[in-house]
Symmetry: C3
Subunit: 208 residues, 3 copies
């Protein structure tokens, strides 16, 4: 059981890296970066969140310890780069792999922090960090306001899912069911928020 | 004596986190981020400087080891968020908690580096890092030129205070007196610089 | 032999810090930052790449362990600052120290990662990280689109050089000859790319 779950989480992590690298390329494409600049943005988007989580927890950085992540991210970036030159890709397309990557990274990040022994609030923040920091880095490198702040339940979906995962695990739900439930919740919340423009209340400083 | 000082430094640290989180919310408010985007900016502002210091020194990150900081930062962000919706807060208000946070973080950061055994120049840079990196992260996330670079003695006040603290401790002044003197010097320098528009000479490249 | 090489690499590292700090000041000058803001940009440019490399590898951060780097960076920043006030420096001048710093940092960064035991792909990425992250930080702090993404073979030159170094070392070429060859390749590629406007194919999303 537990080795199966570990294997599942490992491949979920690799899939998230692939999705976020693809989203990074589609976003960088709007800026007309060259092939290598684009690869750096893709790597930052795909590996940034997990890297910050590992640094904060004091663990070895996941892609330094296992080159497979690096190869998946670079491969996905190249494939997306050439696909986007051949096919007409709608500008908003990157929102879907980005939402899926957000869900997968949040689940693996929260799980990794819990396994490491972090208390619940820290673990949920580590899940959000793993999920959103890659996208923030991507947008900062592209000199844009981070997507995560542009409303429509981005980090909120991530944090909700992290808390769902922690809650279900605390109720002794099977770890795979908990992971799938939390991940689906994040993806559906995010996609619904994009589709219907749902957002949290905006802050408006009086007199600003 | 020494436990008292440790307790004092601990609560000074928590106060700085509260002040910087509040300043982060007031700054993010000008960008109309949503509640969660704002919370991330507040966390980056409040915890960013100390996090970078701990990573550079190779220490466990302070808020991962002690959840209280995380709770203080999130609580302060929420309270400021709702206060700002009810009361008319002048746009420049965030400069005062920001100045106080700068003073408190510089003092605790320098102290932490000295306790860790860093030589004086590194310790002073760690104090400045603790003091200014949170504000830099806040401004970079808001896609603005960092306040720290907009003249009026920001990092300069921080570095001066760090050197005053190191100098006083070297002269065997009581550690609490040294901390209060250095902190007051930073706060007063910064507030005076804002009030009277004092700044360092600007760089102007000939022919630029 | 080996101590000589270590000494050579050490002074190459210090030279790269000096060059990148100077390039940072010249870049920050276009933004009219004050003396201290400029010093922070110079430090980020000079020390940022190696710092990120050391954090990723889990090594002690080089300039925390050895204050000399910090002193070289601050000294170079001050000298450049005052030179630029006295002499007319052309706006594009910073491209030359930047290219030299890129070459030197890539070589030392790749070497450090190999010595640490990193596999080849990770080692080459560490070389690129050491070479380009400082410049990225400099440009992000100046709120500009990173130079590294503005075409003309920036990171590409760095990665080519890292792979040349790893390849030559694998062929048992003398370590000093390998280092000099790789560094020269990076510098010449980059300068030629600036001179003749050579770049990689730009990404252009159809329908974007």
């Amino acid at each position: 059981m537990i080795p199966n779950l570990d294997t599942l989480m490992y491949w979920i992590g690799q899939s998230a890296v692939v999705l976020m690298a693809a989203a990074g390329v589609l976003e960088a494409g709007r800026k007309r970066f060259d092939l290598f600049g684009m690869a750096i943005v893709a790597l930052a988007a795909a590996l940034g969140g997990g890297t910050v989580r590992d640094l904060l927890l004091g663990r070895p950085v996941f892609w330094v310890a296992d080159q497979t992540y690096l190869m998946c991210a670079l491969g996905a970036a190249l494939v997306t780069f050439f696909l986007a030159r051949v096919f007409v890709l709608p500008a908003r397309l990157f929102l879907i792999p980005d939402a899926a990557g957000l869900a997968l990274f949040t689940v693996t990040g929260t799980k990794a922090a819990l396994v490491w022994g972090a208390p619940w609030l820290v673990a949920s923040i580590m899940g959000v960090t793993t999920g959103v920091v890659g996208g923030i880095l991507r947008d900062v490198l592209c000199n844009e306001e981070p997507l995560v702040f542009r409303g429509t339940l981005y980090a909120t979906a991530s944090w909700t899912g992290a808390l769902v995962l922690i809650g279900l695990l605390d109720l002794d739900v099977d770890a795979r069911i908990a992971a799938v439930s939390a991940g689906s919740a994040i993806f559906l919340l995010r996609v619904a928020a994009i589709r219907w423009g749902i957002g949290l209340p905006r802050f408006r400083a009086k007199g600003a």
